[in-house]
């Protein structure tokens, strides 16, 4: 089973994110491997442990996206590739999916591509299905369990987490999967893994190397980024002598304010 895992570098979810003049910053909070992508890497490792094969982690981003790739390597991926070129700046998911699909084409011999559910910064959750569409492979999104995998017969069966419950789907390989957190518990990188990752050479692929000489313009632009309106709530504490009294007061207030 040859697996490609697509990973993104994102600011830590605990970071305080601010914006000034359209420029987003997260202070000195660390950047990390997108938390959803940890589940993708972990699932790739588990498949490899069961069936053998090679895992390649790829990330599209600026030079410092190498940190996310290093974390993927430290967890146990075999190799990592950084896809980076100044012409990729400002790419929307339409363009990102084109670049990732071209990269997966170039890797060759891939049986399975694994994505996280969404990036915690842009939170679109569409990149995986878009890459699947470009490759012409089945999109198995929001997978909560891989129930069977047959590398020889080239088939996979998964449980998809829809809003209403789980849908069981079987599909031929190659296929594109995106995973949700129910699927596994990501491991911590081992000491050996971290050492190996820190020494690893991470090749860089540019637009020219991917044969993407004409990279199309993004279809969407984001002209304005702003802080959400301050929620103007002044908390009103409900007090009373007994729990019954407090409960009755809260219900009164909710009815007065026509909340219920």
């Amino acid at each position: 089973m040859n697996i490609v895992v697509c990973v993104k570098q994102t600011p830590d979810t605990a970071a305080i994110v601010t914006v000034e003049d359209g420029v987003v910053s997260w202070g000195d909070a660390p950047v990390v491997l997108n938390p959803w992508d940890e589940y993708a890497v972990e699932e790739a490792l588990r498949i490899k442990e069961a069936h053998g094969g090679e895992i390649t982690a790829i990330s599209l981003g600026p030079e410092d996206a190498k940190e996310a790739l290093k974390q993927a390597l430290a967890m146990g991926c075999d190799q990592a590739i950084l896809i980076s070129d100044p012409v990729f700046a400002g790419a929307d998911t339409l363009v990102v999916s084109k670049i990732l699909a071209a990269s997966i084409d170039k890797i060759e011999g891939t049986d399975l591509v694994i994505f996280g559910r969404a990036s915690v910064d842009s939170d679109t959750g569409v990149t995986g299905p878009q890459v699947a569409r470009r490759l012409g492979w089945p999109a198995l999104s929001l997978v909560a369990a891989i129930s069977s995998l047959d590398p020889e017969g080239k088939t996979i069966a998964v449980e998809r987490m829809l809003d209403e419950g789980r849908q069981l789907v079987s599909s031929p390989l190659p296929a594109v999967v995106s995973v949700v957190k129910e699927i596994n518990e990501p491991r911590y990188p081992s000491f050996m893994g971290i050492r190996k990752a820190s020494r690893a050479e991470i090749p860089l692929w540019t637009a020219a190397e991917l044969g993407l000489d004409e990279i199309s313009d993004p279809a969407v632009m984001w002209p304005d980024i702003m802080a959400p309106p301050k929620i103007e709530t002044e908390v009103e504490m409900i007090e009373g002598e007994t729990p019954e009294e407090i409960a009755a007061r809260l219900v009164d207030r909710l009815m007065e304010e026509k909340v219920i």
């Binding site: 979810t13 605990a14 994110v17 987003v24 929307d92 998911t93 339409l94 999916s97 915690v120 910064d121 939170d123 679109t124 959750g125 569409v126 990149t127 995986g128 299905p129 699947a132 569409r133 470009r134 089945p138 999109a139 999104s141 929001l142 069966a157 829809l162 809003d163 209403e164 419950g165 789980r166 849908q167 069981l168 789907v169 079987s170 031929p172 957190k181 129910e182 199309s216 279809a219 969407v220 632009m221 984001w222 002209p223 980024i225 702003m226 802080a227 959400p228 929620i231 709530t233 504490m237 409900i238 729990p243 019954e244 409960a247 009755a248 809260l250 219900v251 909710l254 909340v259 219920i260």
Partner: protein, 345 residues
């Protein structure tokens, strides 16, 4: 040709996702500004009834794609049909659900156009939709526009837009369509429905429990439970039973913090937050939840938040409209009773 505004009606197991009607409403207001017709699209098998409903909620006409192959939802054939229908459209709208993010993205690839997921507000600027959507888990908002390519594809967050009043007297044309389904290589082999009860994302009221629901030392687990973490889970189940009773009286959905989910108190389907569901009910009652930033990411747009917590310094009180400092085990039973008395159920 008039601008066409297509609205995809999402449904599952015989039920339309209510946010689909909100999308029809948004389609109607877009048509007022941009001109053109609002046309609903219903794909599936034996789904004629949904087409009638779409008209009542305001669609001018409905395109119905009915085929046995579309009985089970699979993204590939659904996306293929939508791409054929939307090729000439000005706007394609979806309600945001677990199915439509992928559908919207795949149609965007087919038609080489832009996709804007999870929109919470919009305006029209220079003939294009200028959409607002949350990023960084709602810590920021961004405006997004697809100014040149067409159709503009948007998915609309549930409960972010008003649901139109249905008008049973409305009429409109329902047109069956010819479809190219393409090759379908995947097969749906079954379902296991979750037992979430009222769906979190559609719920008008949500009652949620956090780690605090297990914190009642006075409850003594049965003697046969000796394992400490199982004792904790047993306690949490007593706590969640109180949360559930309140939810039932209010016709509410039950939510949870990640701490409660990770500790095994309640299944993941109930998790609210950055790595759970994003919800926006009229009323959110948080019981024994501290209000970590990742939890707030999932519920901060709730209209009214009530927090019940023992710790008066808990950050949840900063976002809440009403707060009670106290023990949820003491407070929930009388609260449930008070609602029962007042709501007469």
């Amino acid at each position: 040709m008039a601008n066409k505004i297509l609205v995809y009606i999402d449904h599952f197991a015989g039920q339309v996702v209510p946010a689909s009607w909100e999308a029809v409403g948004v389609g109607t207001s877009l048509a007022e500004e941009l001109g053109g017709d609002v046309v609903a699209v219903v794909l599936g098998h034996e789904v004629e009834e949904f087409a009638q409903n779409a008209i009542q909620f305001g669609a001018g006409g409905v395109l119905v794609g009915d085929a046995p192959e579309l009985k089970d939802y699979r993204p590939e054939p659904f996306a293929s049909v939508l791409s054929q229908l939307a090729a000439e459209a000005e706007v394609l709208l979806f309600p945001t659900t677990s199915r439509t993010r992928e559908l919207a993205g795949m149609v965007a690839v087919d038609l080489e156009t832009g996709v804007i997921p999870d929109v919470v507000a919009f305006e029209i600027k220079d003939g294009s939709v200028l959409a607002t959507r949350p990023i960084y888990a709602g810590k920021l908002l961004t405006k997004v526009v697809c100014s040149e390519k067409r159709p503009q594809i948007l998915t609309l967050r549930g409960r972010a837009f008003p649901k139109p009043e249905p008008d049973p007297g409305r009429s409109g044309e329902i047109t069956p369509i010819e479809m190219e389904l393409g090759e379908i290589t995947t097969e749906v082999t079954g379902y296991s429905e979750s037992k979430v009860g009222v769906s979190l994302t559609d719920a008008a009221i949500i009652v949620s429990g956090g780690r605090g629901v297990s914190n009642n030392p006075q409850l003594s687990p049965p003697a046969e439970i000796t394992d400490e973490s199982e004792q904790e889970i047993w306690r949490a189940q007593q706590g969640f039973a109180l949360v559930g009773e309140l939810a039932q009286v209010l016709g509410a959905a039950m939510g949870a913090s990640r701490a409660a989910v990770d500790a095994g108190y309640i299944p993941y389907e109930h998790q609210v937050g950055q790595t759970g569901k994003v919800v926006s009910p009229d009323l959110y009652i948080a019981c024994g939840i501290s209000g970590a930033i990742q939890h707030l990411a999932g519920m901060r747009t709730s209209k009214t938040i009530v927090a019940i917590n023992r710790d008066s310094e808990a950050p949840i009180f900063k976002l809440a409209r009403f707060g009670i400092v106290g023990d949820l085990f003491d407070l929930l039973p009388p609260l449930t009773q008070a609602f029962k008395d007042r709501l007469g159920s």
